[in-house]
């Protein structure tokens, strides 16, 4: 309930600031030059929303896997007070070593390079 009320408070506050910026700003007529995207004084030459290939797309996929693994690491903090110490250290060591070996394997297979 309190978290919700604070969220609502922030919601209202950021709305207020947005409204203030819209009301206070000077108004004038739009003309063609003012509304074209900024490109150092020239007319825009190419469309900006065309598909193109991006380096490091594969890295975002690796990132996804890593992020899931990080989310799996976090419970070892809360498990520390609940389970047997030996079991705890075994599982967490095993997990992190798998992560490390996975990283080195990707490195070895040139997945982390800019270009091959």
């Amino acid at each position: 309930m309190m978290i919700m009320s604070i969220t609502i408070f922030f919601f209202i506050l950021s709305n207020l600031m947005m409204m203030m910026s819209m009301i206070l700003s000077k108004k004038s007529f739009m003309d063609r030059e003012k509304c074209s995207p900024f490109e150092c004084g020239f007319d825009p030459k190419s469309m900006s929303r065309i598909p193109f290939s991006l380096h490091f797309f594969l890295i975002t996929i690796i990132f996804l896997i890593f992020d899931v693994e990080i989310a799996l690491i976090f419970p070892i903090i809360t498990l520390f007070k609940m389970v047997n110490m030996l079991t705890w250290i075994k599982t967490s060591f095993f997990f992190i070593i798998i992560l490390l070996i996975g990283l080195y394997h990707e490195w070895n297979q040139n997945m982390l390079n800019w270009t091959n």
């Binding site: 309190m2 978290i3 009320s5 604070i6 969220t7 408070f9 922030f10 919601f11 506050l13 950021s14 709305n15 600031m17 947005m18 203030m20 910026s21 819209m22 206070l24 700003s25 000077k26 004038s28 739009m30 003012k34 509304c35 074209s36 995207p37 900024f38 490109e39 150092c40 825009p44 190419s46 900006s48 929303r49 991006l54 380096h55 490091f56 890295i59 975002t60 990132f63 890593f66 992020d67 990080i70 690491i73 976090f74 903090i77 809360t78 520390f80 007070k81 110490m85 250290i89 967490s92 060591f93 992190i96 070593i97 992560l99 490390l100 990283l103 080195y104 490195w107 982390l112 800019w114």
Partner: protein, 314 residues
């Protein structure tokens, strides 16, 4: 019921005071940045408005808010407006994490909350770059997306190894465990990694590929003018203040009711500015190599080390 409403009222008053403090802090942080950059380049910064330029940020804010705001053709107007709103909301939400023990909300999974919020930060710059229909803005947004996610992951692992030392998800416990020695001295390499990850996370200078001033004119916020630009600016600088606070709490003994906490906080924010005045921009592929080939292995290996330490100390 009466007590409950009283609590709610106190929390709201606390939040208002906190937000006002953040806004004023951001204003003077921008002034500090301009002054420090000025003295680094052997000139005086703003020194005319008010007493020695003390009122400069307020006159800047008034100027920015009263200028005309333009929206380029074929840009997604809704996206632009919604992004500004989201950005502001997100950065206010961050301030909730400041560990005050009274009149503000205090819950014990704050570090997880922080990590969730930082992973949201990718979308702001990306949406800002895409929605304003401009080539430069699109390039800036696209550059910042892989950068932010790479550094955020190594930052989460560094967080993980310092959480292993305190074994709790509450930010407040960092203070209890650092009474004798700062964590900075226990893990100096991780501290340095963490600081540069924060630089990359807030798009500051050696890693400011989202707004590379010499190649993309202003990067992702190029089409934002007047109030919109002021709001984006506000959000960025408040995130700098907040990140330096996280650094101080995690590594430099964060007892946030003492005077020296704020001294350390302003020292770290000064460090952000000093880095901007000194270092040239990095190269993009080197930046990604830095995240993937050095920070990630270092933080994973340190995690292993601290696991063993915890086991043998047990």
């Amino acid at each position: 019921m009466v007590i409950y409403i009283f609590d709610l009222l106190m929390i709201l008053i606390g939040m208002i005071i906190l937000i006002l403090g953040v806004l004023i802090g951001v204003a003077f942080l921008t002034l500090l940045e301009r002054k420090v950059l000025g003295y680094i380049q052997i000139r005086k910064g703003p020194n005319k408005v008010g007493f020695m330029g003390l009122l400069q940020p307020f006159s800047d804010a008034i100027k920015l808010f009263t200028k005309e705001s333009t929206y380029p053709n074929f840009s997604n107007y809704f996206c632009i407006i919604f992004l500004l709103f989201l950005d502001l909301f997100y950065h206010y939400y961050f301030e909730r994490l400041i560990p005050y023990m009274f009149n503000l909300i205090c819950f014990n999974l704050r570090i997880l909350f922080f990590l969730c919020l930082t992973s949201l930060g990718v979308y702001m710059v990306m949406i800002a770059g895409w929605s304003s229909n401009s080539n430069y803005a699109l390039l800036g947004g696209l550059r910042s997306a892989p950068q932010t996610i790479s550094y955020e992951r190594s930052m989460a692992l560094i967080f993980m190894s310092s959480i292993l030392l305190i074994m709790c998800f509450d930010i407040y416990f960092f203070y209890l465990y650092q009474e004798m020695i700062w964590f900075m001295f226990i893990m100096i390499p991780l501290f340095l990694c963490f600081f540069s990850s924060l630089l990359a996370e807030t798009n500051r200078t050696p890693f400011d590929f989202a707004e590379g001033e010499s190649e993309l004119v202003s990067g992702f916020n190029i089409e934002y003018s007047s109030g919109g630009f002021a709001l984006i600016f506000l959000a960025e600088y408040s995130s700098i203040l907040f990140m330096s606070m996280i650094l101080v709490i995690m590594n430099m003994g964060g007892y946030n009711l003492s005077f020296f906490f704020y001294l350390k906080l302003s020292l770290i924010s000064f460090l952000f500015i000093w880095v901007r005045g000194t270092l040239p921009r990095y190269r993009y592929d080197k930046l990604m190599y830095l995240a993937w080939k050095s920070y990630l292995p270092i933080s994973l290996n340190y995690l292993l080390l601290f696991l063993g330490l915890k086991f043998y100390l047990f």
